[in-house]
């Protein structure tokens, strides 16, 4: 089956790229591999029938956030230090393996029952593109997310102003 094949190609690529982000000594290569793992996540979204989200993932994560991270690495470049571990290397490994074991145990032991129909949410048939339906799901008067959408726009404005205020050079003030 095509979806299954795509999953088995994309998920090792994604996990390998994410591992390389953590383990590589060169932080610039780590950032490039992070962008690769973002692209693989977009592919995973395609296997889950989330075409609009795949496009958003490529635009915002692989495009905007990737470029932003590379900019930050260039501006704070410290070749000698690279991307080292701190002294919590072993405890952090133990903690994250414990978290992984717990979560996988819960996932495997839970009986994920599916429901046959839902009343409060927008549903899309599997052979349809989701973009138009997402507009309905976001902006519908009864079951939409209009207030969270407006709050998100205020959050973006606050982040924009905050970022400008934080990096402004205070010495050059006239």
């Amino acid at each position: 089956m095509t979806v299954e094949l795509a999953f088995w190609i994309l998920s090792p690529l994604m996990v390998g790229a994410a591992l390389a982000v953590v383990l590589l000594r060169d932080i610039f290569r780590a950032a490039l591999l992070l962008v690769l793992s973002f692209f693989a996540v977009a592919g995973i979204y395609v296997t889950l029938n989330a075409d609009f989200l795949a496009a958003v993932q490529v635009l915002i994560y692989a495009g905007a956030i990737g470029i932003l991270l590379i900019f930050a690495i260039m501006l704070t470049r410290n070749v000698k230090e690279g991307n080292p571990f701190n002294r919590l290397k072993i405890p952090a490994l133990v903690v994250s393996l414990l978290v992984l074991a717990t979560v996988i145990g819960v996932i495997v032991s839970t009986d994920w029952t599916t429901v046959s129909k839902v009343s409060q949410s927008v549903v899309v048939p599997l052979d349809q593109p989701t973009t138009g339906y997402i507009a309905t799901a976001l902006f519908d008067q009864n079951k939409g997310f209009v207030l969270p959408f407006e709050i998100a726009s205020v959050l973006l404005l606050a982040a924009l102003i905050g970022a400008i205020v934080l990096v402004r050079d205070r010495n050059s003030k006239e």
Binding site: M1, V22, T130
Partner: protein
């Protein structure tokens, strides 16, 4: 076990643990921010997987809408986080989180 929700959830759990390990064990602040982005991506995969597999043969859009909000907040967080890192680098010429401890003294 046939191919389905559990595979995506395990993938999300693996990706989340990798991000958690990096966020706890790295010294470079930009690397920590990159690992946080990996963790947010893992959560998004879980949300979208639930939206696909909760009801058989249709896509339930609420999970995808939640993922869109997570992406929005992640973009804001990346912008502010990197601005803070650049401000710290300006004042200290370093992005090592173990040296940013002036509030401890």
């Amino acid at each position: 076990m046939h191919f389905g929700l559990e595979y995506y959830l395990v993938l999300a759990a693996v990706l989340f643990s990798i991000g958690l390990y990096g966020a706890l064990a790295k010294r470079n602040a930009v690397a920590i921010l990159m690992c946080i982005e990996i963790m947010l991506n893992a959560v998004n995969i879980a949300l979208v997987a639930f939206s696909r597999y909760l009801v058989p043969n249709v896509v339930l859009l609420t999970g995808q809408v939640f993922a869109i909000f997570v992406i929005t907040v992640a973009a804001a967080e990346a912008a502010v986080g990197l601005a803070i890192i650049i401000a710290i680098y300006r004042s200290r010429q370093s992005v090592d989180v173990e040296q940013v401890d002036s509030m401890k003294e």
